[in-house]
């Protein structure tokens, strides 16, 4: 196609073309002689505005701008897992091999390895009538994930030819589908999808199954559902990234998409290192087998940072459509919001709060609404869970990104500076955090973890709340003046805080704790509380109860009881009974 559109103006990542009628809104374009990737973000009769996903240094007016005819899209197919991409799905490993340690511009490496052969099993037969979302072939993408190729959502028709089972590259034709109009479509192992459009589903289901994370404070106090949304806000140094890493490592989703959006480069290399060494206890395979990283570090182009969130969620939806449970970690959505602000500023749009554009809430809601437990087009069930970190400026939760995020998420894990300063991790504050999924998930917990679990949780919560009130008094007049039953609440709450809520990510057993152990831990703590309460009621001074050393012992039980020796809890219960009886008799 002959193209006469040329660059007119350049301002940072924003490039304008004068008086052109050949582009459509959100179309992907190639800018300049180096063919930098860009996207049309504004059109009027005088100017077409483009945001460019790469550095614009060295561009000149008069260089060509070429449209691609399609919106900004990503390639979906085998090879996504165990890979690392930038914000617009360019493979960073392949780019490193091609151009070295530093990222140069205009690199045109295809997203997926086009030479790699996949062991394809074709499941469709000639004469099958397939519609959008139906499977026609599958291949083992990694040893634990089978990649299922689906008919693109808008397409349907009759299979007129199929390839034999065997080894194919991603772009090889596998089946040919003839639609109603008689047009034949060759389907390969991959398809393309525009990143800003949610992939269609048959029906959205209500979330009823929790995403088990092995983190006690989350699983018991603030659980999240599969298909749910959560935000982790916290100032710098409160452990947002550590919490995200822990969740990515241990949550029971089938697939993890980790989006490093405008964050540190060294953190991404840490994730790469750690995840390839870490063995998933469920599958016995490295974590990377189920993980995709999208790394758009803070020094990479800002427009691509804006796109990285959408790229991530599109990949997540693609695997959801295969019937997998996907969790996407976005670290951090504040950087994404800042990218929006930066581009909005370059477009000289009227700013709303703190310079953020007025459409910030609608963009955030569009993103979080792409989460959900759904009935897919092909009849399978899948889910996308979104866990977004928020980095509030000055640790002030009243800033626009935190406030607007709060409206669209149902789980709020507020990280607390004071806890982080005392190195209490995860620093999730139990008074300001919340989860709205309790009522949805309680039936599941009652059925799978037992009625007790829900009961214990309520009791633990009550003790923490009571301690919180007592601490107000203690801060004013010291703890000595409290009556013994209130001192007992404070002591028990200390065990809950230090022995239960605080969790050591670097301890082999404590980094992931199965639900059953969480329940037994609560049981033992509450058992001690009840027994001690009886003693206090019998006017035994609290100091003699503390002298038994039981409280200190329970604080360390998370380390002392291995995850595979849950029978040891019975010994703990017995020891509590014996020692309490001993105190009573003396």
């Amino acid at each position: 196609m002959e193209n006469k559109d040329v660059i007119f103006g350049i301002n940072g990542p924003v490039v304008t073309v004068k008086a052109s009628r050949s582009f459509s809104m959100m179309e992907m374009v190639l800018v300049g002689n180096e063919r930098l990737v860009g996207e049309i973000i504004g059109i009027n009769s005088d100017f077409t505005t483009i945001q460019v996903y790469e550095e614009t240094t060295g561009l000149k007016p008069g260089e060509p701008v070429v449209g691609t005819g399609s919106p900004m899209n990503v390639t979906l197919g085998p090879g996504i897992l165990d890979n690392i991409f930038d914000g617009i799905e360019r493979p960073l490993k392949a780019i490193a091999e091609e151009s070295g340690s530093f990222i140069n511009r205009g690199s045109s490496v295809p997203s997926l390895d086009t030479e790699k052969l996949w062991d394809v099993t074709v499941t469709a037969k000639v004469g099958d009538i397939l519609s959008g979302g139906d499977f026609y072939a599958e291949c083992p993408e990694t040893p634990i994930i089978r990649h299922k190729c689906m008919v693109p959502p808008a397409l349907s028709g009759e299979v007129v030819s199929v390839a034999k089972d065997g080894q194919y590259r991603v772009n090889d034709a596998i089946i040919v589908l003839r639609d109603k109009k008689g047009v034949e479509h060759k389907l390969s192992l991959c398809q393309r999808w525009p990143i800003r459009t949610p992939r269609p589903v048959t029906k959205r289901l209500s979330p009823t199954v929790p995403l088990i994370t092995g983190q006690r404070v989350i699983d018991t106090l603030f659980p999240i559902a599969k298909g749910g949304t959560a935000a982790i806000p916290g100032g710098f140094g409160t452990g947002k990234t550590m919490t995200q890493h822990q969740l990515a490592k241990w949550c029971d989703a089938d697939i993890i998409i980790y989006v490093g959006c405008g964050e540190r480069g060294n953190e991404m290399s840490q994730v790469l290192d750690e995840f390839s060494e870490l063995i998933d206890p469920k599958s016995g395979r490295p974590m990377t087998d189920r993980t995709t990283l999208i790394a758009n570090t803070s020094n990479m182009p800002v427009a691509a940072r804006e796109a990285s969130i959408y790229t991530g969620i599109t990949l997540a939806e693609y695997y959801r459509d295969m019937g997998y449970h996907v969790a996407i970690m976005a670290d951090s959505t504040s950087r994404w919001a800042e990218a929006l602000r930066e581009i909005s500023g370059r477009l000289e749009e009227m700013p709303a709060e703190e310079g953020f554009p007025a459409y910030l809430p609608s963009r955030l809601s569009e993103f979080y609404e792409r989460a959900g437990m759904v009935d897919n087009l092909n009849g399978t069930d899948g889910s996308v869970t979104i866990i977004g970190a928020v980095s509030p400026q000055g640790s002030d939760f009243s800033e626009p990104v935190t406030q607007n995020t709060k409206r669209f998420i149902r789980c709020f894990w507020a990280l607390d500076k004071a806890l982080a300063y005392a190195r209490h991790y995860p620093a999730i504050n139990w008074t300001s955090s919340y989860s709205e999924y309790f009522t949805d998930l309680d039936p599941w917990y009652k059925k799978n973890a037992g009625e007790d679990f829900v009961k214990y949780r309520k009791e633990i919560n009550r003790l923490l709340q009571e301690e919180n009130q007592l601490m107000e008094i203690v801060k004013l007049i010291g703890s000595d003046v409290l009556p013994d039953d209130q001192k007992l609440v404070i002591e028990t709450a200390r065990v809950i805080r230090v022995g239960f809520l605080q969790q050591n990510a670097f301890h082999a057993d404590d980094t992931f704790v199965p639900l059953e152990k969480q329940k037994r831990m609560m049981q033992v703590i509450l058992h001690l509380y009840q027994k001690a309460h009886q003693l206090v009621a019998a006017a035994v001074p609290i100091s003699s109860i503390l002298e038994t050393g039981l409280f200190d012992k329970l604080v360390k039980m998370k380390y002392d009881i291995p995850n595979n020796r849950l029978d040891m809890f019975d010994e703990y219960l017995k020891e509590i009974d014996e020692k309490v009886a001993g105190v009573l008799n003396s």
């Binding site: 007119f8 103006g9 301002n11 304008t16 550095e55 614009t56 240094t57 060295g58 561009l59 000149k60 007016p61 008069g62 690392i84 960073l92 490993k93 780019i95 490193a96 070295g100 340690s101 530093f102 990222i103 710098f236 140094g237 405008g262 480069g265 060294n266 991404m268 290399s269 790469l272 790394a295 570090t297 803070s298 020094n299 800002v302 950087r335 800042e338 990218a339 602000r341 909005s344 500023g345 000289e348 700013p351 703190e354 310079g355 400026q393 000055g394 640790s395 005392a422 190195r423 004013l476 007049i477 010291g478 000595d480 230090v498 670097f506 050393g549 200190d552 604080v555 360390k556 380390y559």
Partner: protein
């Protein structure tokens, strides 16, 4: 073809606007010849057709609408590099100012650098021994890290930076592959002199590259200074295999220069008038720290910034904290009570230390000890605030022990001389010795094996030395 454009259309702050320019490229360098023959440099910051906005580094004073000749150089801002830059002093835009003549360049590099591919990064794990207890034990500096010092005017951050630079030891670094790049942005001449003199006294001046943009130097050049310094650092690290420590002071002045430039360009401001892209801009500097696969060198950054009004939520420290891998925060109250270095322990942090310490790096008990010291000191702060309400006498016996621990921790552990160089073992042992002030059951961050080995040993040493210490305290 090189053309001179005569006259300018518009002058606004540090920006000039030219009309009818052909073939301008974005971010290219221009030279401007004034009527009196003086030369200035500038950079293209915006293009709209044949209308070009140029930012003049040295300011627009003396530029008139006519009689100004502007020449487009056709290339972005580049820094001439060669091994000879070691020991040299440059101005904020990379021109030699030590009177030793121009650099004979081996290569020229774009000062904006290119982003490092995350895949090619080496995750930093080797610790740097600074000889300062608080830093080594509680916020260990790791090679390839960016660890800023958050300070305030009037505190001795410069002394601390010099001490780190002087004492920093890397395990396998020999004397000749260690270099310091020093970037001064908007600091007083005295401060620059102090650094220069300190480097001289410790005999490393021949290993130092200095970029000086002092308080009275052109403000727009200040936005180039850290970029020049980091370009030099990357060259030394990744082409000459050196371990480079980059000290950048003061990042607040840098951000203010950026704000000035942004507002003269008429951009929409974000918080406190700083441009909306301050985060991305700071990141483009800080992210240039690190190590690369296949190269032996490393770039470690210690940026220094003064928090206006000691406010850590001010945009500059706030955004810096989000980018850097931790921070060393200095505290005015500690500084006031004569403690050097006045490191405020609780808000300080090193994100990379968890993988660079412990058995094989420092010592097996390091991580547990650090956690326990943090937790205990947090308790000290609580006890103190309680004591300020009810009086120290009324505290529980445990809280009293914490008060005692807090006192000793500050006076013996944090406090050390500006020339005192403690080994990591000394610092760790000192930490255990202080913890013996507290009863064993208070130490809930450490497991029993470590306690048996280190806590009991330290306790034994303290008990046997006890009579002597009591005498000396009386």
């Amino acid at each position: 073809m090189i053309l001179d454009y005569i006259g300018v259309k518009e002058i606004n702050g540090s920006l000039i606007v030219l009309d009818g320019v052909k073939d301008a490229t974005y971010e290219e360098i221009v030279t401007i010849r004034l009527e009196n023959g003086a030369l200035r440099q500038g950079r293209v910051v915006q293009i709209e057709g044949d209308r070009v906005v140029v930012q003049v580094f040295q300011g627009t004073r003396g530029i008139s609408l006519d009689n100004t000749r502007t020449r487009l150089m056709g290339r972005p801002m580049e820094l001439p590099l060669s091994p000879e830059i070691l020991g040299r002093v440059f101005d904020g835009a990379g021109r030699p100012i030590d009177g030793l003549g121009d650099i004979f360049p081996v290569k020229r590099a774009n000062i904006n650098g290119t982003p490092m591919n995350p895949v090619s990064r080496v995750y930093p794990k080797n610790y740097i021994n600074t000889g300062i207890s608080s830093i080594d034990v509680l916020m260990t500096l790791i090679r390839g890290q960016k660890l800023p010092i958050f300070s305030g005017s009037g505190m001795n951050h410069n002394e601390l930076a010099v001490q780190i630079a002087r004492q920093a030891k890397i395990k396998d670094a020999t004397g000749d592959n260690f270099a310091i790049v020093f970037a001064a942005m908007g600091v007083k001449n005295d401060v620059a002199e102090y650094f220069k003199q300190s480097f001289d006294e410790s005999g490393v001046l021949s290993k130092v590259v200095m970029f000086l943009n002092l308080a009275n130097d052109p403000i727009i050049e200040r936005t180039l200074t850290p970029r020049c310094a980091l370009t030099a650092a990357e060259y030394l690290a990744f082409e000459l295999d050196m371990h480079v420590l980059v000290i950048m002071t003061d990042m607040t002045s840098y951000a203010e220069a950026l704000r000035e430039f942004s507002s003269s360009k008429g951009e929409i401001p974000g918080r406190k008038g700083y441009p909306g892209y301050l985060y991305s801009d700071l990141a483009s500097l800080y992210e240039r720290a690190g190590m690369v696969k296949g190269k032996n060198g490393s770039v470690t950054q210690i940026p220094i910034l003064t928090m206006p009004n000691d406010d850590v939520t001010h945009p500059v420290p706030d955004l810096t904290g989000y980018i850097t891998e931790g921070q060393i925060v200095l505290d005015r109250a500690l500084a006031g009570s004569g403690i050097y270095p006045p490191v405020s322990v609780l808000p300080s942090l090193s994100r990379l230390m968890k993988d660079g310490i412990g058995a094989g790096y420092t010592r097996e008990d390091h991580s547990a000890l650090a956690n326990q010291l943090f937790a205990a000191y947090a308790h000290v702060i609580d006890s103190r605030s309680l004591a300020s309400v009810i009086g120290e006498e009324e505290l529980s016996p445990t809280d009293k022990k914490y008060m005692e621990f807090g006192k000793q921790f500050e006076s013996a552990f944090l406090n050390q001389g500006p020339n005192e160089n403690r080994t990591i073992e000394e610092s760790l042992d000192l930490g255990w010795k202080l913890l013996t002030t507290l009863p064993r059951e208070e130490l809930d961050r450490v497991d029993d094996a470590i306690l048996d080995k280190y806590y009991e040993k330290a306790k034994g040493a303290v008990v046997s030395a006890a009579p002597g210490t009591e005498e000396s305290s009386q």
